[in-house]
Symmetry: C2
Subunit: 107 residues, 2 copies
Amino acid sequence: MAQYLLSYRDRVGARPDKFYKTTLFSGQHLMLGLNCLEPGQVQPVHDHADQDKFYAVLEGEGVFTVGEEEQVAGPGIVVWAPAGVPHGVRNEGQQRLVLLMGIAPPP
Amino acid sequence: MAQYLLSYRDRVGARPDKFYKTTLFSGQHLMLGLNCLEPGQVQPVHDHADQDKFYAVLEGEGVFTVGEEEQVAGPGIVVWAPAGVPHGVRNEGQQRLVLLMGIAPPP
């Protein structure tokens, strides 16, 4: 069943220069991945004109920007960035920020 | 920011007759929701010919069927059910099973 199930903890990673991204699963309609931000790392605000996206906070805490608004979010928070709405996240905390991320359709 | 962020814990629910489903966010390309199964409840095996789907276990433990395989999964496990692959889940545990679920494109 390795084909269809995984533990996100086995896929967490870090890069010194830029936040870490990895794909967990990808199909014709949806791509799922992890975004891992070390303290101080940032995903700059950007948008996807024709893709809906979400983040679910798994570990750590992030400062999320979506549209005109900004909010700190920790584990259990789900963030929605629909097509065309600018979004980004900063890790201003002391621990790694781990996000489950999905985007549809896939890039 | 209530528009773009929520805590899944505020949206957990239960039904006596059938597992509980609720939509968290829905756009043109992706729908995100919760599936909550009380002990003994089942989502029968089914498929979606033209939609990719995932579950992420948030609380509890489920017995997942995907394709020909079956596996018990708890918090931190991500389950992938691509278009056309039969999938379902049973709660054979003692506590509520809470799943973040996404499907693309939305039903």
